[in-house]
């Protein structure tokens, strides 16, 4: 038996049509979820007296065996059997005989595939949340290890002010925490059990949908059979979460690619994450980070793809919807690799403290500190900004340094200047003087490091309910 629906047809399908429509090439990933779903379904059919209890037990036992084969990689998928459902159905028939013919009672592939996909999402999104937490842990560890390092920070890729490297790192951790919060929201919305919606209208058989939901760990059943088989929101929402997460990965990758250039020279990436050149023997290229940045394009396109797929489709099920799977599987698998690699990256990343130290003494790094010095003395923001702007312009134009200005010269710019302003021309002073919540002040940053250390080691995977 390769297809569920042969009897009505007077002709086989075209071979190219089979190749084009068969999904077993990718939906084998759903096999273990399909088995789990079918065991719950069979038990319900038995419990409700829709099929004999004995048959239900036989089906459950057979599926359990098949499930074990799948997990051990011993189940052989038949590329000539349409999809994952028919593959398992066939195997079951071979294993237990005619009782297998009763499994597909009171359900359709339309509702079954939604259930399989939801079980897959629930499983994989949780794995991704755990992988994010592992990466956060690596970042926090890296921040902690380098907690005294001060680096230039950039806006418009122009160096702006100095900050603690650890403070920069915790920005990544915040971004990732939002990613986890989004994934938790998606998990929650995914958690409604669709089976029993059948083709689209429900069934006349006395099924118990709540029983199936409970067995599979769902909190609720879906409320409308038409919506149940037409809905792919949970796929799109997952792809959106992963696209945003990918965007974050691409930004981290860009930061580190820049920092690893000869020109920035802030960090050394471990050789194990670099590759060389076939023609330039001296090269050490940050390929893995470039690929992470590049794969983000794929994560975006997968999201776009399923949105486009679903646009303007009339209710209920249309075959187009089968094509939600390759993008979902692709994004899930890609992001897991990306997270794994980024975790390794931070575990092995070396900070070139000496080189960086040579970079953070340019006086312009402290222009805001000087401006705020004036503000504290009662000068208005506008005037303070103009004063410091003019002073810097003239220093640059005349090749001078603020540190070398006489007190008279300083007072020429603003009578509010005292000699003490020169103490501000120091990176350590600059970060320490910051006072505001969320700033790069070392004491505050340390407190944040400690806060995050606790979160990322929570047994739960560490979701801070703050977001």
């Amino acid at each position: 038996m390769s297809k569920f629906w042969g009897s009505r047809f007077n002709k086989g399908t075209d071979a190219l049509a089979d190749k084009f429509s068969f999904s077993i090439g990718y939906d084998w990933r759903l096999a273990k979820y399909d088995v789990r779903a079918s065991i719950a379904h069979a038990r319900m059919l038995g419990k409700c007296g829709i099929i004999p209890r004995k048959d239900a037990a036989r089906i459950a036992a057979g599926l359990t065996k098949i499930g074990r084969q799948i997990e051990q990689g011993k189940f052989s998928f038949d590329p000539k059997a349409e999809d994952v459902h028919t593959n398992i159905q066939s195997a079951l028939k071979k294993l237990i005989g005619p009782a297998a013919d009763k499994l597909h009672t009171a359900r359709s592939r339309n509702d079954l595939i939604v259930l399989d996909m939801k079980l897959y999402c629930l499983d994989k999104l949780n794995e991704i949340i755990a992988a994010i937490t592992a990466w956060q842990k690596a970042i926090v560890g890296f921040a902690d290890k380098n907690k005294d390092v001060i680096i230039p920070a950039y806006t418009h890729l122009q160096s702006a002010q100095v900050v603690l490297l650890a403070h920069h790192m915790l920005a990544y951790v915040e971004m990732l925490e939002r990613d986890k919060a989004r994934l938790y929201g998606t998990l929650k919305r995914t958690g409604r059990m669709p089976l029993g919606s059948c083709a689209l209208s429900g069934t006349t058989l006395p099924i118990d949908r709540n029983f199936v939901a409970k067995q599979l760990g769902f909190a609720k059943v879906t409320a409308n059979s038409i919506d149940s088989v037409s809905d792919r929101d949970f796929v799109i929402e997952a792809l959106s979460d992963l696209a945003i997460l990918g965007m974050h990965c691409s930004r981290v990758a860009e930061d580190v690619i820049l920092w690893a250039t000869r020109e920035f020279n802030f960090v050394d990436i471990d050789w194990s994450l670099c590759t060389g050149s076939s023609i330039m023997p001296h090269k050490k290229n940050p390929d893995i980070l470039e690929l992470i940045r590049g794969e983000t394009a794929k994560l975006y396109s997968h999201l776009n793809e399923v949105l486009v797929l679903m646009k303007g489709l009339p209710l209920t099920y249309n075959r187009d919807m089968q094509l939600d799977k390759p993008p979902l599987f692709g994004s899930v698998e890609k992001i897991k690799d990306m997270l794994g690699l980024l975790t390794k990256l931070f575990a092995g990343l070396k900070v070139k403290e000496k080189a960086i130290a040579g970079r953070i003494h340019d006086e312009t790094f402290f222009s805001v500190d000087i401006m705020e010095y004036l503000i504290k003395k009662g000068v208005s923001y506008r005037q303070a900004h103009d004063t410091v702007g003019t002073m810097i312009k003239e220093c640059v134009d005349n090749g001078r340094k603020i540190a070398d200005l006489t007190l008279a010269e300083l007072k020429g710019y603003s009578p509010s200047f005292g000699a003490d302003v020169k103490a501000l021309l120091d990176p350590k002073v600059s970060v320490s003087n910051k006072k505001s919540l969320g700033s790069t002040n070392p004491a505050l940053v340390l407190r944040e490091i400690e806060r995050w250390k606790k979160i990322v080691t929570l047994a739960t995977g560490g979701f801070a309910r703050g977001y």
Copy 2:
């Protein structure tokens, strides 16, 4: 004063560069939020003694006046002033004089724009939630009014089974409820106050960020200044929510476009939402629905646009990020029109009961009911499916009807058939026989209608916490 940063520069900007970079052409929409943010900020500056209380009061009073002008449409934006912030700053200076120069203390446009955008999102997403609820109400009303109408339902656009029109309508309501749940999640994650992050590192001035947050109704402040100015997740997440919502709109539009064809002939769209032809005097075209379907492409592209914009940007702020605004504003405004029009559509949609009644008697609509009849008699699913498939094929091939088969002929297909099977060949029987939770059973559908009626009239805007 048209720019915040003139003093350091020895040359004006190029006119085309100004045209290309000025954002006032679209960010005027943020004016009222910018005013609200600045009032809270000024009060904080006064309270903390960073600027004199008198100046703070003067600023707040001036801004309140400007805010009123904006609300009344009397504020005139200067296209030659860079952006919304400089526009308001200039107006304030004109209004209250030098005190205005103290407003921009302890903040940067980098953190201010994030705050403005967050206030905009919080406001607009709540409006959209209310508009969704209004549409749900119209759909529920339409379902209620036509609660006895039975229509063909489709998979693959091939007629499949009969369902209550009301059941189909409630599928839309479910879809929309998920949209609201997503928007609530986005609102929650947007709700962290970024001001005080300044350019990127925080400030040395003794600000009170929690005070600002409280005044503006935020539950929390952001935890990391670098993340605060680099983050555009909330924009992307909002655009993703609206893209999915747009996809739902496009599917509803497609359903109704099909139903309004001469060929389907299920409904009559009110003339006020149709247009005619410049060359074919008889035409009545469902333009509004076509445009709704079409605008979905824009909602998708806006999402893609901001994702692409942000890909690979190094931290912290880059000017590219200014371009998150046109897509966000565009999607917010477009979706609001779409929701308003769809609400009107269902208020005025007429069901052609007679025409539909002529369409739901084809025997194939009841094939699943017959199959389940056999299953109830102990036939396996596989056998029942084959039996009914064969029976239908032979009826079609021989131009016969199941209703006309003799009992002997029926028993030829399956000994389990009795004469009572013919009672199933009736649309009313078909929907009534459905038993499962979430099915099209009239009693269950009625219960759902009542449930939704309550939800959509809740003062809160009706968010069912179920999702």
Copy 3:
């Protein structure tokens, strides 16, 4: 030897990094082009005296052998060898020994991969052009076979006027001819040979790039070595051509899906391109067309993906660019299947003439004809449009037919009406009366069918240089 660049490195690459960066999983498709490129390169090296002629001959012979293995499916790719180049390099070394070590002289993987990709594109785009022509031929044949059939044509999916089915079919043929023209343009721009650009700056060795170009059938060599290794325009352009072609496929699919509904009932799709239902034994679903419509989303996303990939990449080569391959290969392979299936579709599509004939007599189909009747009598367009609009409205409102109006009643609408206007209420008259170039007039359509018949049978693949 698994990597080209081991010597400089003091550590192996990480296993996950290898998995993430190895491209052999997809770029094996380039093997035959890589071999062809390398043979030409080796011959050039020998001819120019850069390596001994004997070595060049040995390399060419070895590669020829490998090329044959590849074509016969006998070459076994090693998943542990980085990419297609290293795979072939390793095989060559095994086959011919040390001489193999000279092959990679005066080239880099940066220029080699561009050459391989260009050879792939030249090959595959030509195959696609041929597949389009085959589909055009099937459409023209279908048009010819049904050349007398008149169908309703639609705007806004509302029936508008009647046209020849063949005329509708030739619209598809026109669309496809533009696709071919675009592909020819892309082929032309792809046709510049990049090898010899080496890593990015050219080489100090006395190579002869034109010799390589000539051997491989390129008209020219690329003019700038930096551009040569940085350029992926040809990939994006190909993906754009295929996305537009996919859009055309999706529109044809939509037309036929609609026509195959019970409601439209214009055509019967061959069973071999349909599938059935696991729960509704009577269903015959147009799955292949739905999947073609759906896969269009993938073609779009592949285009978007490579554009996003390349955005903002600094010159010259970045590793991100490796990721142009999966989208290109994916689109090429998908579109070929789509074209093959659509060719089969039209070969087996049956027109339900009788059902259609019952649909084309509604008088509104002829409103434009009546309007033009008045215009020919000197009535202005505006007045004629209003007259016919009013007449139709009143007929509909009063349940009357134009055919039943008395001459007096007709003249009441416009004195220009004569009794002969009623002759226009006939589908055959309607199409025959059309006169303009490009219209649905049967004589003109026949002429077009004959024109296309010639084009699609040209040995060249039939590109009409008109576009």
Copy 4:
């Protein structure tokens, strides 16, 4: 008169529906093309005797007057008139009276809008080609002015080899030449005149489509009326060309943003194209380049948008297709600004020769030259690569320089080394030694500069027919 189709309707359209569907807010850009098209059409109607010659002349005269008003910015568009066609139609009626009612004979808005859009594209794409040429000219001028400057070139953003800055610049010029070639191809395919296709089927009136085509400068008329009104390929193709062009702009922007960082320090951007900071008085930010990079996202999304819009639309016209305009207009206008700004950028870009000169002496820049030195002495590529790789690794590990190695040490790495190898450790020698066509060899680069100088000053706009 605000709508063409009122007579059949018994109810006005809804105000929100009008707002949502009216296109005059953006399609006013088509006014001058609409006028030009209508003049040609009116003349044809007169010539063919379809309307009196006197009326045709009156219409043409009236439209000429309106055309002049439009060009002078004196035409006032009525936001309450549906679209550009109704606006002009109304103005014409006011101007010349009843004769105006004859203009819309033998055409529909369906074919008219395609003609307007094609005229717009032909006009604007030619302007863009000219703007590209102007930018190329600026780049060539910049290259010429700095023709002796040697810079580091990068792969993977890791410095790789040295090249002439001019050589790098000419890579940009090549990219842009391909852009022009693509635009020329699009222009060619756009050049078929659609008017006379009417709603979809042609007309019974004796029109002369070739006459209209000739007047408007089209080489041909479209061949199929259904295709004519359904086709938006030319819009998508233009958007694809502009997206690729935008990608090129974004890459140039990224190069210059990097070069303008304090870390790279290669160039100084003119102040007129930079902006400052509201909080950091010292900042000089490359905002214009960041915005150019950012706007690329919009160009991509516009392409995606129209592709998505058109997916799965049944033939012929659907109202969704109206929405092709905002993306097209948006991309055309944005790219023109981008090209103008980039032209200015290169006109004012200053090269920091001294700073760069300090960067090009690292010995690793010459590793390929050394490798090829060995190859010239008969060493195999593989061995040469390993030898140089090992030598560099040991030098780095031991803090030594190749320049300081003794001859014996050199020979220890390879007996083929002579003392002359040290001459290669010089940037000037490195570029001069390059020999291959398309390489960075100064003589070849100079020849290329001269070639391009001629091309970009050609009266034709300078399209090198090479691509």
